[in-house]
């Protein structure tokens, strides 16, 4: 009786092991086949994205590879180390792209990339991820509206601290009524990002 049970159990276990082995083999071979295309397409997507923030004709280095790692700092809102991309021309850093987290979106964090040139002017801002209400707060995406281009060429010198706000709060920035929390969060995080670039100018722009 006991022997019969044992036989049955072990044959079932062996069947399970064989199926697992076959599945693992299939998965790992597919992983290796697709690994380099995946890396390539990720890097390509990243490059296209970074080029929206800093135009490709301004620099001549491999932006995706040329990064410095930055520890968590309250001005950028990052909780882990993040990479700052440096755009160089003739080995001179001409602009940086900084990942910035706005913690106070309408529903959670909004991550943006901010491109800043060596005169501390904004070259461009793009939203990487957000959880804002679709159809309402998502006009911060470039696919949905041109709003995010409001930041282009703005700087701390041109706009005083008080004007870094939506028009409703006495600032310089447009917004869509019914969704003011979202732009407020981004304006604040972009402003803080500029402060960060000013304070760390030496570190960011020395080649």
């Amino acid at each position: 009786m006991f022997k019969d049970h044992l036989k049955k159990i072990s044959s079932t276990a062996i069947a399970m092991i064989i199926f697992s082995l076959v599945a693992s083999a299939a998965l790992s071979s597919f992983y290796f086949i697709t690994k380099s295309p995946i890396d390539e397409s990720d890097a390509k997507a990243k490059r296209i994205f970074l080029n929206q923030v800093i135009p490709a004709d301004l620099y001549d280095n491999n932006l995706v590879k040329d990064t410095i790692s930055v520890e968590p700092t309250p001005l950028l809102g990052n909780k882990r180390n993040i990479d700052i991309y440096r755009a160089k021309k003739n080995n001179q850093v001409i602009a940086v792209i900084i990942e910035t987290v706005a913690p106070d979106g309408y529903s959670g964090e909004i991550k943006t990339l901010v491109g800043i040139d060596q005169e501390e002017k904004i070259l461009g801002v793009r939203v990487i991820t957000h959880k804002e209400t679709p159809g309402l707060g998502d006009y911060i995406e470039i696919d949905k509206s041109q709003w995010i281009k409001n930041f282009d060429l703005k700087s701390l010198d041109k706009i005083s601290e008080k004007k870094w706000a939506v028009k409703k709060d006495g600032g310089d920035f447009d917004y869509i009524s019914g969704a003011t929390i979202t732009p407020r969060a981004i304006i604040k995080s972009t402003y803080k990002c500029l402060l960060y670039a000013k304070e760390n100018k030496k570190r960011l722009f020395t080649s």
Binding site: S11, T12, A15, M16, F19, S20, A23, A26, L27, F30, Y31, T34, P37, I38, S41, D42, K44, A45, T133, P134, G135, L136
Partner: protein, 209 residues
Amino acid sequence: MSEIKKIALDGFWKQNPGVVQLLGLCPTLAVTTSMINGLSLGIATAIVMAVSNASVSPIRKFIPTEIRVPVFILIIASLVTIIDFSIHAFIQPLYKALGIFIPLIVTNCIVLARVESFAAKNETTSSFFDGLFMGLGLAMVLTLLGGFRELFGKGTLLSGIDLILGPSASNLVIHFFGDYHGFLLAILPPGAFIGLACLIALKNRIETR
């Protein structure tokens, strides 16, 4: 031949996974914010269903009954991961758009349901067609629902088609109203429930005639 016809009729109409069996509601409700999203996830699901049905059926006699569910899940999960890798490697924008929902096909009950109730009992050819047509039936519902929600929510159809066919396809997007501010409810999750309910009601109405 008539058997395959019967399977197709079941998948698209009589036993449609989306509006009759009501299985696989997680993607049905979550992804259908636009027609293209619905269609692409639908097609991905159909591929998974056809392939998993076709691979379970020939080995069904070797799978001990006690462990059939874990083995089925193992096979489905591996196939989904392979498809996930492939989309990530070769159709990056689509990967970005569908994101988390491709791995979620594993948890879609309809895939396991068809393997368990059909592929485990039938020949390989008919199992393959069962998976394919059930999947396409679901894809049809996802596309319709996505189309309705997109039309009412944003006033467009086919937005995001450029993610699949390349940037030149973006002029295929149809804008119905010049200055449409959108109807938020249709895009939010409740809109998915209401839309699905309307589809089920419509199907039942045609049926009772």
